[in-house]
């Protein structure tokens, strides 16, 4: 480490050279004066871009002037190229904004593109100041009996960073490609992306650790120690981890799937190796559920086989009304609602014939299919309102004062609906 520090401090020796100092001064003057102009007369939009161009052109002209005069100029030129590229990344942002989600684009830009470009800029500067190949060989110490040099450290850190932080966008890209090849669904694509990402992370971390001189025997020893720790203290985390891996490969719970948790429909948002994050529509809350819950409890999913869900609305109607007419009107009203599938068509059943003498209502059940399980309460509400409207319009709105709308979750049904994932025994 001392050697590296001395090497870096040694670069100050270049300040003995007039050619270096003059380039740095010109850069300083150009950058601070343009910064002053921007602070004094701030602008945005197109004018802001014009100012950036002016900045680059000014610096470029200074470099060109030095080159024509036969003086060293490369520091200025490198800065112009670097700034041009940095501003160019903004252009890239505008290019990708249509094809990528905002949060994905933000991640790609902040976690991958800008840090990579910054490293590229630093390497360019380093190439002028020193020999990066030479610096890479400077020893920084020992680790588990291995000599670690700067090159190993930088490579291990970079690959580890890319694997942990920046593997998301490439994984998604690869998963989308696989999705196009296999014509699989969105949920499969998200699960594939997650599996690819974890594989990349594992490979990246293993490579980084190996690069730092930790060999397979040492890794096995660490794993042995960890297994002891798992037995005593962190068995639940380990259980979550193993459940997470299992669930991912089994595909029983995937991002994008709709589940029923405590009777409420939820959508799987994110899945990592410890926990799964669900979004609950009714109160817009996010639930973080340990993975072992899905592994050991029954999970009701609406989207594993297909996204259809069957709903039932029970309507009490005075017994003296014609059942045939009522049934047609109810089916017609359901068909008019967005979200209710036309195929298979809504069906009405007369569950119970009322008794006019004792004012007991006949009970009708309207059954219909929807393909958006999360919005089931809204759709059922709309269906009931439509039934009331249509019966009211026909003068048949003397509904019982005791309507009993009921959402029936048909776990065992002949029609495609929800599926139940049994706990692993």
């Amino acid at each position: 480490m001392k050697e590296l520090f001395q090497e870096v401090v040694g670069w100050l020796g270049y300040l003995q050279r007039g050619a270096v100092v003059s380039q740095l001064l010109l850069i300083l003057i150009a950058v601070t004066s343009l910064g002053f102009v921007q602070r004094r007369w701030p602008v945005a939009g197109r004018t802001f871009w014009v100012r950036r161009w002016v900045q680059l052109l000014t610096l470029g002209s200074l470099g060109f002037g030095l080159a024509v005069a036969g003086y060293p100029f490369r520091l200025i030129l490198d800065l112009v190229v670097f700034l041009g590229g940095w501003y160019g990344l903004d252009g890239l942002h505008h290019f990708f904004v249509k094809s990528l989600h905002r949060s994905e684009l933000g991640q790609l830009e902040i976690q991958v593109l800008r840090p990579s470009y910054l490293v590229f800029g630093l390497m360019t500067l380093l190439r002028s100041l020193d020999s990066p190949e030479d610096m890479a060989l400077i020893s920084v110490g020992h680790f588990l009996g291995s000599d670690i040099n700067v090159g190993d450290l930088v490579m291990a850190f970079s690959v580890g960073y890319l694997a942990l932080v920046a593997s998301g966008p490439p994984s998604k890209l690869l998963a989308r490609f696989i999705q196009h090849l296999l014509l699989s669904g969105e949920g499969t694509m998200k699960a594939t992306a997650l599996v690819i990402r974890y594989l990349l992370m594992a490979m990246g971390l293993l490579w980084s650790v190996h690069r730092l001189g930790v060999h397979s025997t040492a890794l096995l020893a660490v794993a042995g120690g960890l297994s002891l720790g798992i037995g005593f203290g962190i068995k639940e985390i380990a259980s979550d981890f193993i459940s997470g891996v299992w669930i991912l490969f089994e595909g029983s719970v995937r991002p994008g799937e709709k589940l029923s948790i405590d009777g409420e429909a939820c959508e799987v948002r994110y899945q990592n190796l410890r926990a799964t994050t669900l979004w609950r529509e009714c109160d817009n809350a996010e639930l973080v559920i340990p993975n072992r819950t899905f592994f050991s409890n029954t999970t009701i999913t609406y989207t594993r086989g297909d996204p259809f869900r069957r709903c039932e609305v029970r309507v009490p109607v005075p017994p003296d009304l014609n059942p045939g007419e009522i049934m047609v009107l109810m089916e017609k009203s359901a068909s008019s609602i967005d979200g209710v599938l036309r195929d298979p068509p809504p069906r009405t059943l007369l569950l119970k014939i009322g008794d006019a003498t004792s004012s007991v209502s006949s009970i009708y059940a309207l059954r219909f299919m929807i393909n958006d399980p999360i919005n089931q309460p809204e759709i059922c509400s709309a269906v009931q309102a439509a039934i009331w409207q249509i019966l009211s319009a026909k003068g048949l709105a003397s509904l019982s004062s005791d309507p009993v709308p009921q959402i029936v979750d048909l776990r065992v049904t002949e029609i495609a609906g929800s599926q139940t994932t049994a706990p692993n025994q």
Binding site: E7, V9, G10, L12, G13, Y14, L15, Q16, R17, G18, A19, V20, Q23, Y71, P72, F73, R74, L75, L77, D78, R127, S128, L129, D130, S131, E133, D134, L137, S139, D147, N149
Partner: protein, 410 residues
């Protein structure tokens, strides 16, 4: 503060000398590693250790000078210096092989200087001639010589073979490693009697059957069953060094800067001897010259320090210290007698350097014509050794490339 960090201290007196006479400041020294050397932390350390002998002495008389050493493969030197020169950040001192220094000079990446005749009087005249630009300036000065010698494993070969016949004798059982590079094979031109022919051809003498025959004999030897059964040909020295270090080879031509690497693996089993003579005469090894040259971006103060370092590098005390302590290279001063040293390594180096003087004329012409770095020449040799082309065709191709450009066939 920056002045302080960069090595300048505004004191009036430094180590008893008035400030104007004392050297203080920082210089950057870039050491080029031969293309034969693997660029890794051990090789870097070896190169720095060789230079450290010189630096320790320099610092002892100029304690206010800080020297930052950087190492780089010579193959990258031109591109790196071109880039750094344009930024004003090139090193103050460049140390590289003679051929590399000449290539750098062609691109104006080093700064030729004139030197008082007294400083040059005892330097190796062959090397000096190579570095002279014709206008009184020298692109650099020779600072060390790396003659080609034979490295062998004394556990397998108790006595070094002194002739090619001994080397290839069935009794020796030596596993031989040879590089396919012309510069590394040229030692056998002398042993096989092809040196005079090659020199005459390179000098532009009219081609006759008498001149052509020894070249064909030399090439035929490279493909002879006796050699082919015992020798492993490798495209580079790096592969040979790996095999030798792992005990898969017993004998190979090598140079001083490769000793450390072999010694780390072979330990005391590593021994060094002059290259074997043959039916045609003594071997004709090529001696690499290490040259020290000045950079082009130095400040006046850095130039003063760099020049002082350069002159310090060629003084007899420094030269003897480097040769004796490194046991890898010879002095570039001809008046420095190292033959009396009891070290067998130095004795072998001195003997090999004497052998190399017999082919100095050829080497000079070859180096000046850039034949050692000629890819076409290398391609012909590679294809011939692998049996893709036959001896007559290879002989014609080799002769054509050895001939001066003015007398080549259109």
């Amino acid at each position: 503060m920056l002045m302080g960090l960069s090595g300048c201290r505004p004191s009036q007196w430094v180590q008893g000398l008035p400030r104007k006479d004392a050297l203080q400041g920082q210089i950057f020294v870039l050491v080029g590693l031969s293309p034969d050397e693997r660029f890794d932390s051990l090789t870097k350390k070896d190169a720095e250790n060789r230079l450290a002998i010189l630096l320790d002495g320099f610092r002892s008389i100029h304690p206010q000078v800080r020297v930052q050493v950087q190492t780089l493969p010579e193959s990258d030197l031109s591109n790196v210096l071109l880039r750094r020169n344009r930024a004003g950040l090139s090193p103050d001192v460049v140390i590289a092989r003679g051929e590399t220094a000449m290539a750098l000079q062609q691109h104006k990446l080093i700064n030729p200087q004139t030197y008082p005749p007294g400083q040059l009087a005892h330097l190796d005249q062959g090397a000096l001639h190579q570095l002279h630009l014709g206008d009184g300036r020298f692109l650099g000065l020779p600072i060390g010589l790396f003659p080609q010698v034979a490295c062998y494993n004394r556990k397998r070969l108790p006595t070094p073979p002194t002739t090619i016949q001994e080397l290839l004798a069935p009794a020796s059982q030596a596993r031989i490693g040879l590089s396919m590079q012309f510069s590394e094979l040229s030692w056998s031109l002398g042993s096989l009697g092809a040196l005079d022919s090659a020199t005459a051809i390179a000098s532009g003498q009219p081609l006759t059957a008498t001149l052509k025959q020894p070249i064909a004999t030399w090439l035929a030897w490279l493909r002879s069953p006796g050699l082919q059964q015992r020798a492993v040909f490798q495209a580079s020295q790096d592969g040979l060094l790996e095999d030798m270090g792992a005990g898969r080879l017993d004998w190979m031509p090598c140079r001083g800067y490769e000793f450390d690497r072999l010694r780390r693996q072979l330990g005391p089993a590593l021994a060094v001897a002059p290259l074997p003579s043959g039916p045609g005469g003594p071997a004709s090894p090529y001696t690499n010259k290490r040259v020290i040259a000045l950079g082009v971006n130095s400040s006046p103060n850095q130039r003063r320090i760099a020049r002082a370092f350069l002159v310090f590098g060629i003084n007899p005390v420094s030269q003897r210290a480097v040769a004796m302590r490194s046991q890898q290279e010879l002095s570039a001063l001809t008046n420095l007698n190292l033959e009396t040293d009891p070290s067998p390594i130095l004795k072998a180096l001195v003997a090999s350097n004497l052998q190399s003087s017999v082919n100095r004329q050829l080497n000079q012409k070859i180096v000046n014509a850039g034949i050692f770095s000629n890819g076409q020449m290398q391609n012909v040799l590679n294809r011939f050794i692998y049996g893709e082309i036959e001896t007559p065709k290879a002989t014609d191709a080799l002769i054509e490339m050895l001939r001066p450009a003015s007398s080549r066939l259109p």
